[in-house]
Symmetry: C2
Subunit: 303 residues, 2 copies
């Protein structure tokens, strides 16, 4: 067991907060603190409380998945999801798909008799990208990326930009709106969550609108569907959605109070550097680089 | 459901086999064939049969996981695993760890009374990297990478190299040898499999020695351990290993006959291009890039 315990190399040594190096160059100095130590040491002012208005609670028979919505990137989709949640549209719908190393997806399983909507919408203009405006609070990573000119974080979400447009990136746990061939055929009434290696080729092709912040294993360990694209072949294999609610609509005792490291804080920068050049006795070669989707969430229950 | 079906965008259009572009540049022409269509059209000569001597069969109560070993990269570890399998060392050991978005790991759960070995070894010199020799058959990708000077494939395995050394990369489904702090403290007696986004910072820090080629969901859907690093906290949560065997030691009727696209074939190149610039009506913006860990396995049952 001692070998196993050591795999993550959590013990640490040596000082340094080096800048990232291009690929193939010698890596920077190992970080003096580990990722988790940086978070532990972060001052209260470097954390932000997650707003209940932006939290989506998915209730399953065996537990709850909490997602944070990103109205900065997909305001119309987020507004529609709030509307649909408020009219209880999702309650009793199904998780219909679990595809290995790809996505879990839910929606209305009944194509012939689709569930009616009240104020909610079945389709919306696409929000694949948004204006790369200053108010987005995009914090760039110095690390180069193959899929985008620049990657970084905004409001705790992994993102990318090219100077004109900005978009969320398809990292593990990201939530998006399933769509048909037409760009404007999604609305958030069907949602998917990434459960495998980041399918970054979907960036700028689908509307991403949030991220799972709690309960991810309830989705990632679902039995894989045996049909094409991981769809469950029998209705009884589908997973029932008890309800989907917006946090601010729940009684306070049912809300979970979460906080996240602010993307623009010194602690965030320090935590990323601790991932870029891991210190300690276990790591023999620091990577000198960190990819946007290899940066874990910095979210915890409020303290 | 129609929105959901469309998510992967499997329908196709337009010709073209464009070269990769740097990030931020306009993408290449969409590919005329999809990834799966390229594989379907691949001539028999572009496939290689997986050798039973290189296949490791992990039997669990609910099914079998098959791994292909990479003796080209980790000859000593692979030889030791063959020895351990032949002396039935693994039989009755446990999967002791399942960490969300990271790894599943197995080995001897009994630290105090470790299971004896016969000819097998508990530690070996590290094989984190190997000489970047011609015989490795390294096929480079034109796509730049953040973690390594160059990435590519060799013998069907995702890999990287810097002109002097070559190494396997920690993509989804890769198999490695757990180790303690000392570089030479692993031997393959404890193995881990990547079940999340590629932890590429482990590259060059651990001996990778193969890849899961069948049965991956049996590992990726295991309940996550609730202890630190995803360890199961109670012995009864651990998953029993019925046996681990080398394919060539099995009676033929128990062998699975698999074949893989040769990394050096035209079909391989074409399949990668189909991922780099996805065609069809669904994709609005081809990525113009593909990351080494975003290239799925090209393995199937022999036809």
């Amino acid at each position: 067991m001692r070998h196993i315990i050591a795999l993550l190399g959590l013990s640490l040594a040596l000082p340094g907060l080096a800048a990232a190096k291009p690929a193939g160059e010698p890596a920077g100095k190992p970080s003096s603190l580990s990722f988790s130590e940086v978070l532990k040491a972060a001052p209260k002012t470097d954390w932000r409380a997650l707003e209940q208005e932006n939290l989506l609670y998915l209730e399953l028979a065996n537990g709850r998945v909490v997602m944070e919505l990103a109205p900065q990137f997909a305001p119309q989709h987020v507004a529609n999801i709030r509307t649909l949640a408020r009219e209880a549209y999702f309650d009793g719908l199904k998780i219909v798909r679990s595809q290995e190393n790809y996505v879990v997806q839910w929606g209305d399983p009944d194509e012939k008799n689709p569930r009616p909507m009240k104020a909610g919408k079945r389709s919306l203009p696409q929000e694949f990208t948004t204006s790369a405006r200053r108010e987005l609070g995009f914090v760039a990573l110095p690390d180069k990326d193959g899929y985008a000119r620049q990657t970084g974080f905004a409001h705790g979400m992994p993102a990318a930009q090219d100077g004109k447009r900005a978009w969320l990136t398809h990292c593990y746990g990201m939530v998006g709106a399933g769509r048909d061939v037409a760009s404007d055929s999604g609305s958030g009434a069907e949602l998917y969550v990434v459960i495998g290696h980041a399918p970054r080729h979907l960036d700028k092709n689908v509307t991403l609108l949030g991220r799972v912040v709690q309960g991810m294993p309830l989705l990632s360990t679902l039995p894989r569907g045996t049909g094409a694209l991981g769809f469950y072949e029998k209705p009884e294999q589908q997973v029932n959605i008890l309800s989907i609610r917006i946090g601010s609509d729940l009684p306070e005792e049912k809300q979970v109070k979460l906080e996240a490291i602010k993307s623009e804080s010194a602690s965030f920068k320090r935590a990323v550097e601790a991932l870029r050049n891991r210190g300690g006795d276990w790591y023999k070669v620091p990577a000198g680089y960190v990819e946007v989707c290899n940066i874990p969430q910095m979210v915890r229950e409020q303290q």
